[in-house]
């Protein structure tokens, strides 16, 4: 795998790649404990059926950081919730539009993650957030650069022959976009 990342013709075999629709990334930072506020915010989002497509949380030296994404079409509702709870202890940063590229499986190794970040770095594609899950590596990049990012990744990765479309068209059969799975 490392050889493929450095240009060896032996490509990395992966199970699949998915690309999200257009998203807005919201970064929240608080110096004090965020539990009360963030729990309330996400509970309200759940009640309003706003789907979180991406979520990371971290304790850093200076405080607490949370990055999450919602569909662009849902952003105005999230913005209203954030304004209702306006708090001087919290810094909010909005990055839009972004998109998530999900690559799987990582086979429980960080090598794929390093490889992906290296490829995007060499192509000068900004990465706004990264996370791994049970099987996948997910990267947030500028939405307008997603196709270019995919093109770079495909230079070193081999997909299954009958791979699904990179952008799943479920909206036409899922009118309310519920996360039913």
């Amino acid at each position: 795998m490392q050889e493929a990342c450095s240009g060896n013709p032996d490509k990395i075999k992966i199970g699949g790649v998915k690309m999200s629709p257009e998203l807005v990334q919201i970064n929240l930072f608080r110096k004090s404990s965020p539990d009360l506020f963030w729990t309330g915010l996400f509970r309200q989002m759940a009640e309003d059926r706003i789907n979180l497509t991406f979520f990371t949380q971290a304790a850093v030296n200076a405080g607490f950081l949370c990055n999450f994404c919602v569909l662009s079409s849902d952003f105005h509702r999230v913005e209203n919730l954030l304004q209702q709870e306006d708090d001087k202890n919290q810094q909010v940063r909005i990055i839009a539009p972004v998109g998530t590229i999900t690559i799987f499986p990582h086979h429980h190794s960080f090598t794929l993650l390093g490889c992906v970040i290296g490829i995007l770095g060499r192509a000068r594609i900004p990465v706004h957030a990264v996370c791994t899950s049970l099987s996948s590596v997910a990267i947030n990049a500028d939405y307008v650069l997603l196709d270019q990012a995919l093109k770079e990744l495909r230079k070193v990765m081999t997909l299954p022959v009958n791979h699904a479309p990179f952008r799943a068209d479920l909206d036409s059969i899922r009118p309310n976009s519920y996360p039913l799975g």
Binding site: N162, A164, P165, A168, L180
Partner: protein, 128 residues
Amino acid sequence: MNDKKLILVVDDDPDLVEALAMKLESENFRVSKAYDGVEGWDEIKKERPALIILDVMMPRKDGYTLCNELKNSEEYKGIIVVLLTAVADAINSTNYTHMGGKTTLADDFVPKPIDLDKLMEIVKDNLQ
């Protein structure tokens, strides 16, 4: 010859596929994986599974369609199909209905969110 039974997991959520695979392997099954109905067919043709755990809502070819194709196929109709179905209160808002599920002739159903113990019970019961 490997005497472990092969189970195919088909779902467009790779994390769910991985989680189910880990659980099934810990229960001494072999697992093949696919991420939509089209890939599911490819895997079935590569090696016939004893049982398929099949999601309903997937791109390209959904679980109902794949299940119907299997059950109408002389060659593959004997494969046991367990459908993963969405919760009842949300399914009304989609084109996927319980009625649609019943017409697929699936052998069993498991509601989402999945109770892993219940799923394992269903898998083992159907393979006996």
